[in-house]
């Protein structure tokens, strides 16, 4: 399986409004990448883990752990990320302890807003630079299940804010490098996720504008999650349209109501889907799964649907 070019970038960020299915899309992208033979790492950010479960595995915690062929997952913890970063720079654990177990330093770190998000982004960034002993990059693809839109935007901006606020030194340099990665269209792709509903669509339009115009971040695809699949063929729909009133038979009336509601939802979803076409992003529809469970089987199915649509 060969991946379309848009899925070949190394550093992949998935964002969207809360509850639209970012983790689902992250899992879909991870599966496609891993099955194309790329060593793939998924980063969740200090959250209740979703990704391992979608591959039928238990949560992995703060350690990078293999969850499928070519696929690893990690739930980045700010405290661990800080220790890792500090040890990398300070080299000695005793020195690390002296510094970070100092109550004043701890107090400062605890109160500075944004520091946790910066540490998590920094760790994902470090994985991007990670190399094997022979110099080859450890990861072909790193996928970050980023925070929801509201917080996501401040999250993406962090490196730029720090770069501009901190005059010089290590922190400034790291932030500048991070920002360079985030805005590099050869290495990075930000995929947007939305639902065919009013509010998510409105937020997606705003998000798209801010990401492109204000932040200059390179976008990938727009995933429209939970598109109701067409219930009827065109001829059937025409036939059904003749039934303008509920049939008198109670069973038929129930079937009729179920059809009306479903077609109403389809029409509405379709109209929101059309609004998204204005964004001029490759648009990928993921059909609603009317199943009790949502797991590996659904991810596999959605991955196939997605691949059919990506050029």
């Amino acid at each position: 399986m060969r991946l379309p070019p848009i899925l070949q970038r190394r550093f992949v960020l998935v964002t969207g409004k809360g509850g639209v299915g970012k983790s689902t899309v992250t899992a879909v992208l991870a599966r496609l990448s891993a099955r194309a033979g790329r060593r793939t790492l998924v980063c969740e950010l200090n959250t209740r883990e979703r990704i391992p479960g979608l591959f039928g595995q238990p949560p992995v915690g703060g350690e990078v752990t293999r969850i499928a062929d070519n696929l690893w997952s990690v739930n980045i913890q700010p405290a661990l990320a800080m220790e890792e970063y500090a040890l990398m720079k300070l080299r000695f654990r005793t020195l690390y302890r002296l510094v970070f177990e100092n109550p004043v330093v701890r107090g400062m770190v605890g109160v500075i807003p944004g520091v946790h998000h910066l540490l998590m982004l920094g760790k994902a960034f470090n994985h991007e630079r990670e190399v094997e002993s022979d110099g080859r990059p450890t990861w072909d693809t790193i996928i970050v299940d980023a925070p929801a839109t509201g917080h996501g935007l401040t999250f993406f901006q962090l490196p730029r804010i720090i770069r501009d606020a901190v005059p010089a030194g290590n922190l400034h340099r790291e932030a500048a490098d991070m920002w360079a990665l985030l805005t590099d269209p050869r290495r990075t792709a930000v995929h947007l996720v939305t639902l065919p509903e009013e509010l998510p669509v409105r937020e997606t339009v705003e998000l798209h504008q801010r990401l492109t115009r204000d932040l200059g971040m390179p976008l990938g695809c727009l995933f429209v999650n939970m598109m109701p699949p067409p219930l009827l063929e065109a001829a059937q729909a025409e036939l059904f349209a003749h039934l303008t009133e509920a049939p008198s038979d109670p069973y038929l009336a129930t079937l009729w109501a179920a059809g009306r509601i479903r077609l109403g939802r389809e029409a509405l979803a379709g109209s929101y889907r059309r609004q998204l076409a204005d964004l001029a992003l490759p648009l990928i529809e993921l059909p609603t799964q009317y199943s009790r469970d949502f797991g590996p089987e659904q991810i596999s199915l959605l991955s196939d649907r997605a691949l059919e649509q990506i050029r």
Binding site: K17, G18, G19, N46, T47, R48, K89, L95, L98, V99, N102, P103, V104, G107, G110, V111, I112, P113, G114, H116, P147, A148, G150, H151, T154, L158, I161, A165, V166, A168, G169, N170, L171, H172, L199, E203, L231, L232, Q236, L239, F240, H242, P247, D249, Y251, L252, T254, L255, W256, A258, G259, R260, I261, L263, G264, L268, Y290, R292, D293, F294
Partner: protein, 403 residues
């Protein structure tokens, strides 16, 4: 185009639960002074918060709803055009009209409904002005570049500023009830912990010394034993000037910390008062339910009062239509089309019904889990074909929650 949709039967209210069913009341809003809605992203917290506020106002209480979600929709629904950092009153005439659209609304005295959005910028500036010992100090803080960086740019600052807002509203005698909408779950925890983190940080030796010292270069002295090594190490991590400047800023900021600490303690107690309740909002999907159950544990760990679950967007099952009847039903279907076409149509409709009922089954299992964990049945709001987009819609949701 939304309006055209609204008239069609397929997009009517969608309430299909039997009328007059009396379930145990899950929410007794009457005694509470503070309701906090929390839950995963996208579950409808803001709508639920607004609905609770509308319901309470219709029942005669004076309510302020405070939202953190910058979404415009709530403002639209409340008829306010735009929510700002200032409290604004919802037009009583609109409220009255909404009341008439739901059978739940009784005659009688209406309360008041006020709403505001948490405006990080304004709130933090106000806080500095109020707590600074003098105008000069306030100005120094407001013009400091790190202040701007803290108060506007970084995630997390909202949490600090919300603390102050909630406290102010609670202290304001005008309201019987405050409804507070929180950021999505992970951030909500940060939000809930913010007062305690502040108290802890402010109790630290660092801050006490910050409040005493103001002169340049004192920062390093705070660190105590090993300070030179610590400063050098930190400089390796960050860059020299940054740290010095930051500590200088903290020193100026230290002048308002006492007042901030008092405020944080007040919020700490307010959140745990016998008249405060946390309502955990979720949709019936497995992952959101997991998150809600986890959140319940988190509340308990922090000594925060759990008030119940609210399940939003619940599929209500259609009556079953036995598959064996489909051929007969196709024959009786009054359409001018070959039997085979009618049969195919009926089968497709049946598949829509089955798909919906599978979701209803999933949702039923979720409701059971929530009932078991919550000790009583969750509040249930059915899946509406359209978004709740006006006061009448909010009143309708409130009516569901009061059942």
């Amino acid at each position: 185009m939304m309006r055209a949709e609204r008239g069609t039967p397929g997009t009517s209210d969608g309430e299909r639960s039997p009328e007059g069913r009396s379930e145990p009341r899950t929410l007794r809003v009457a005694d509470e002074r503070l309701l906090v809605t929390a839950g995963a992203g996208g579950v409808g917290k803001t709508t639920i918060a607004a609905s609770l506020a509308v319901g309470a106002a219709l029942a005669g209480r004076r309510v302020a709803v405070l939202t953190i979600d910058p979404a415009r929709r709530l403002a639209d629904a409340l008829g306010l055009g735009q929510l700002t950092g200032e409290l604004r009153r919802v037009d009583p005439a609109l409220l009255e009209r909404a009341a008439r659209t739901t059978r739940a609304a009784s005659e009688g005295t209406r309360g008041e409904l006020w709403a505001m959005m948490l405006d990080v910028h304004t709130t933090s500036d106000q806080m500095v002005r109020r707590f600074a010992p003098d105008a000069e100090t306030a100005r120094t803080i407001l013009e400091n570049k790190y202040y701007r960086y803290f108060s506007t740019s970084l995630s997390g600052s909202q949490e600090y500023m919300a603390i102050e807002q909630v406290r102010t509203l609670a202290a304001d005698g005008r309201f019987d009830l405050i409804v507070l909408d929180t950021p999505p779950a992970a951030d909500a925890l940060e939000f809930l912990d913010a007062p305690d983190r502040l108290i802890e940080a402010l109790d630290s030796k660092a801050v006490q010394m910050l409040q005493n010292g103001r002169s340049g270069g004192f920062g390093a002295r705070l660190l105590g034993r090993g300070r030179d090594l610590i400063m050098r190490s930190l400089n390796t991590l960050t860059g020299g000037q940054f740290l010095e400047e930051l500590i200088e800023f903290m020193a100026v900021f230290g002048s308002i910390l006492d007042a901030l600490k008092t405020a944080s303690e007040a919020v700490h107690h307010l959140l745990r008062a016998p008249t405060s309740r946390f309502l955990l909002v979720t949709t019936p999907t497995a992952s959101n339910v997991e998150e809600a159950l986890h959140f319940q544990t988190t509340l308990a760990e922090r000594g925060l009062p759990f008030g119940g679950f609210i399940a939003n967007r619940v599929h209500v099952a259609y009556p079953e239509v036995p598959e064996i009847l489909l051929p007969d039903l196709a024959r009786t279907l009054a359409l001018e089309a070959p039997l085979a076409a009618r049969q195919a149509l009926v089968e497709r409709l049946h598949s829509a019904l089955r798909a919906h009922n599978r979701m209803a089954e999933r949702d039923g299992a979720a409701l059971e889990r929530l009932a078991e964990a919550g000790g009583h049945p969750p509040g249930v709001v059915p899946l509406f074909p359209l978004d709740v987009r006006d006061l009448a819609g909010l009143a309708r949701v409130a009516a569901h929650l009061e059942r």
